[in-house]
């Protein structure tokens, strides 16, 4: 604040404390008319009088005498300049700050926030513009939409279209709609954290990241060329992450030893990937077979299996996602999933076909087992896993598939459009 507005500051301070001019003047030992001249910036003030007024008002005298907060003046002026359609009295900014310091600071703060948000938005915009995948995907989608729009207009504009062309256009519409759906799915996957992660995504556990990078099949561990301990040590993780990764890879290594991949794949093909039959033939628990299904090499001849593992509370412990079925990391999954039914029926395998709101169909196997069953006097903890595959046609016959009934499930309530679902516990957010 410039010294010329010092009186204004004194007046505002006095008013804020609800002290009358007469009272302040009396306590400071000056006349009320002199104080009036000071408060209207018509008289200079300094030394003893200033100290007396500051004492009565209980403020540091420097609060009156220090120069204006030039940074605040600049920010308020910039805020005014940012909205040129509103003619602000920028020649009176200092006076405004002197009189309404709180509001001025608020304007400054709001200006800073708006500026920071603009910059963040610009950064996101720049990122999207420079993201070749996003750019290409948008181009593709616009192309798909162009075909659909133009073709639909031809079919609906009331003018005659020869029958053969009509059929042709309808077929184009169908094809292009499918392409559009595929492109949209690709975009979603591109921006889905766990599938594009380099390990930094917040909702992906470090173990999942390590396994994802290896497509859930680590040849060195499969062949016992490296111990899980040495493998994890090379990754230079933080101690907690290292422990978690070591636990998971030790478990994986144990599965790989119990069911060597060549032996397992041969048996799996013979038994049509039936986990119960495999469990009996290979003499291992069903739990081990299901886990082995989640760790198969990527190959055109081998069905893809995803996996979800949760504890007795339903909290997700581990997930292997598939492009067509992404799984929430932090609970809130669809309560209709067979894995949750399995929690209430420990040791009872559950086979079920599920279909998602987007029409994807999966064959699932779930089982819940007891953990530390021998803790006498304590409740047994349980652990459930569900493996799922969209590639069931690779090992089930058509009549067998036709006999199966579908369980209509969602992913999470917030993104599930199914109407009248008794299990819904949260609103659908995308409508």
């Amino acid at each position: 604040m410039s010294r010329s507005l010092l009186g204004t500051r004194i007046r505002e301070n006095r008013r804020s404390k609800k002290i009358s001019q007469t009272e302040l003047a009396k306590q400071a030992g000056i006349s009320a008319s002199y104080l009036n001249l000071i408060e209207h910036n018509r008289r200079g003030i300094g030394g003893k009088t200033l100290l007396a007024l500051a004492r009565v008002l209980k403020v540091d005298p420097r609060a009156f005498t220090e120069g204006a907060d030039q940074a605040l003046v600049g920010r308020v002026n910039q805020a005014a300049a940012a909205t040129p359609t509103i003619a602000c009295e920028v020649d009176k900014t200092e006076e405004f700050i002197a009189r309404f310091h709180g509001f001025a600071r608020l304007i400054g703060r709001q200006y800073d926030r708006a500026k920071a948000q603009d910059e963040a938005l610009q950064a996101v915009s720049d990122q999207m513009n420079s993201d070749p995948f996003f750019s290409e995907a948008m181009h593709l989608m616009l192309t798909n939409i162009t075909t659909i729009k133009s073709t639909a207009e031809i079919l609906s504009d009331g003018e005659a279209v020869p029958d053969d062309l009509k059929e042709r256009f309808l077929s184009n519409l169908l094809n292009e709609t499918e392409r559009l759906a595929q492109t949209a799915t690709d975009v979603l996957q591109h921006f889905e954290p766990s599938t594009q992660s380099d390990g930094a995504a917040d909702d992906t556990a470090p173990t999942e990241t390590i396994l994802e990078k290896n497509d859930f099949f680590i040849e060195q561990i499969e062949g016992n060329f490296i111990s899980p301990y040495d493998y994890v040590a090379r990754l230079k993780l933080s101690k907690p992450d290292e422990n978690e990764a070591l636990d998971a890879l030790t478990s994986y290594s144990s599965i790989a030893r119990k069911l060597p991949i060549d032996t397992f794949l041969k048996a799996a093909k013979q038994q049509s990937y039936n986990p119960i039959a495999l469990s009996q033939i290979l003499d291992v628990s069903l739990n081990v077979v299901l886990r082995r299904l989640a760790y198969l090499p990527k190959h055109d001849d081998i069905p893809r299996f995803g996996m979800l593992e949760c504890d007795g509370s339903g909290a997700v412990i581990f997930r292997k996602q598939l492009p067509t079925l992404s799984l929430p990391r932090y609970g809130s999954a669809c309560p209709l999933w067979p894995i949750y039914r399995s929690l209430s029926q420990p040791l009872q395998p559950i086979k079920a076909f599920i279909n998602t709101p987007t029409g994807e169909r999966f064959l699932t196997y779930s089982i819940t087992r007891y953990v530390d069953q021998n803790n006498i006097g304590l409740p047994s903890r349980t652990n459930a896993i569900m493996v799922f595959t969209p590639d069931y046609e690779m090992f089930l016959s058509k009549p067998e598939i036709a006999l199966q009934t579908n369980l209509a499930v969602g992913l999470q309530c917030s993104v599930c459009p199914r109407d009248n679902c008794a299990a819904r516990r949260a609103k659908y957010l995308l409508q």
Binding site: L142, T143, I145, T146, S150, T151, D157, V161, F169, N172
Partner: protein, 122 residues
């Protein structure tokens, strides 16, 4: 004699829809799906209007436009550029290269027909 329109568009379904629309208007339509050799085709066919997609295999619509404008006979040939790349910089680049009209996808059929009529002077 009806006027002719040459379309260069690599998306077959868009090409089919556009061709149908223009033929329905009584125009002769010649179509190409590749940017390569396009200028030579235009030189031999001598269309009354060219509809160019911007992103084409082998040679972009922009390059074709620049090549056309460098040929005396085609410096004034109406060229309608049709693209999903509708950013300001793309429009500015097309205008700089001498496009007659820049339209973004998706388009309304009525709008494109109206513009084709205007560019053909019919």
């Amino acid at each position: 004699m009806s006027k002719s329109v040459l379309i260069v568009e690599d998306e077959p379904f868009i090409l089919e829809a556009l061709s149908f629309l223009l033929k329905r208007e009584g125009l002769n339509v010649v179509a190409f799906t590749d940017g390569d050799g396009c200028v030579e085709h235009i030189q031999s066919i001598k269309p009354d209007l060219v509809i160019l997609d911007m992103m084409l295999p082998n040679r972009s619509g922009m390059q074709i436009l620049e090549d056309l404008r460098a040929i005396d006979n085609f410096s004034n040939l109406p060229v309608l550029m049709l693209t999903a790349k509708g950013q300001k910089k793309d429009r500015a680049a097309a205008e700089q290269a001498g496009v007659s009209l820049f339209m973004t996808k998706p388009f309304a059929n009525k709008e494109i027909i109206r513009n084709v009529h205007r560019l053909l002077g019919i």
